[in-house]
Symmetry: C2
Subunit: 219 residues, 2 copies
């Protein structure tokens, strides 16, 4: 399976555009836990995930984090190439959450094709709209949902991504994902444990009543 099969609108590009993309691609394998893009790195390029998992997050001056969205196989990361759109006035950090194989499409290559191809420009619009929707969803969670619901939703999402009810994750990491503090998350998880929804042990959170967590997350 090669780039051609992963890039979503490959068949709709003309031969010159296809050759330009192929001739400038960089294939990379990146270890879990590596920051592959942040604001100070300038324009890293678009990232097309072959296999693995990326996390996009923002960082406050004090080092607090909040996860904006995750990218999985076949997803394209646009904001690592934010220089191609001068109206993007924010920085995201992109980190691998699993060992990841990906292709880097240099920004100026993508931009030059987008400038002449209405198809690629419209596809890019859809990409951005999709991330925008992720961020709006998150904003609504933050604004309207209380933390108990957000923690419940987070645990269920993790269990779904990892296909297990035994999550190997620290309270600190959950706090970073949700823009909260470790102490606050620990208190919440103990409450969940008292309610019989999870069982806590060193480095592990086991979901023992997914139905009730789901109910809580949707309240």
């Amino acid at each position: 399976m090669e780039f051609q099969e992963y890039f979503p609108i490959w068949d709709k590009l003309n031969t010159a555009q296809q050759n330009k993309l192929l001739g400038n691609l960089i294939a990379k394998t990146v270890r879990k836990g590596t920051v592959i893009h942040n604001g100070s790195m300038g324009c890293t390029g678009l990232l097309l995930v072959k296999t693995g998992q990326l996390r996009a997050y923002i960082l406050s001056d004090e080092g607090r984090e909040i996860t904006l969205y995750r990218l999985f196989d076949r997803d394209i990361c646009l904001f690592s190439a934010s220089c191609i759109l001068r109206s993007i006035q924010f920085d995201v950090t992109i980190e691998t959450e699993k060992d990841t194989e990906l292709w880097v499409i240099p920004s100026e290559v993508y931009q030059s094709i987008m400038a002449e191809s209405a198809l690629l420009a419209n596809y890019t619009n859809e990409l951005m709209a999709s991330r925008f929707s992720d961020v709006m969803w998150l904003m609504e969670q933050i604004m309207w949902k209380s933390l108990d619901r957000r923690v419940a939703a987070f645990l269920l999402e993790e269990a779904s991504i990892e296909s297990t009810n035994r999550l190997k994750i620290t309270h600190e990491i959950i706090a970073n994902h949700l823009g909260s503090h470790r102490e606050v998350i620990t208190r919440m998880l103990r409450y969940f444990q008292n309610e019989g929804m999870v069982r806590l042990s060193r480095g592990t959170i086991e979901i023992t009543d997914a139905d009730r967590l789901a109910e809580l997350s949707e309240m």
Copy 2:
């Protein structure tokens, strides 16, 4: 001054595209305080503001609001035509904050030109990136700034928009803008008054120390 002079990339469209836009425009004058778009209205079309002021906000199930951004003269509202991008999975409400003259560009007209014009598609990308940046800024405010700083920033922004230090605005409206509660805002404003930064009277908030408010808002 007509549409041609307000539409940002008019000169770069071809004659057929220009005629299609002009032939399908709807000019409207809308009274202050009118909801001109919300999720249940479907696809209203793109809005180009000639004069006036629009506010885009989201609404929780319980009726709480939070302002996402404002649109002024020459700004284009894209999310009132969210049907043109299938990846947009959220609803915003658009309301006039002043008497407003605007043009409505029907969604299908804009979409058909965007499908063939890389220029218009790229311009639309910039539009969306710009709103995305507004929302990311807001998210950072909500996540990292405490409410006192947000209220201070809000008062200064209002004063700048209205070109006055005597704001005619209720505590309820400020609460709606910031996704907070009236009681919380009233408490904060009384604190500001005690600190000599504002003077409160019925229906009016007078800014008496803009420098200190500015300092607070940037902390």
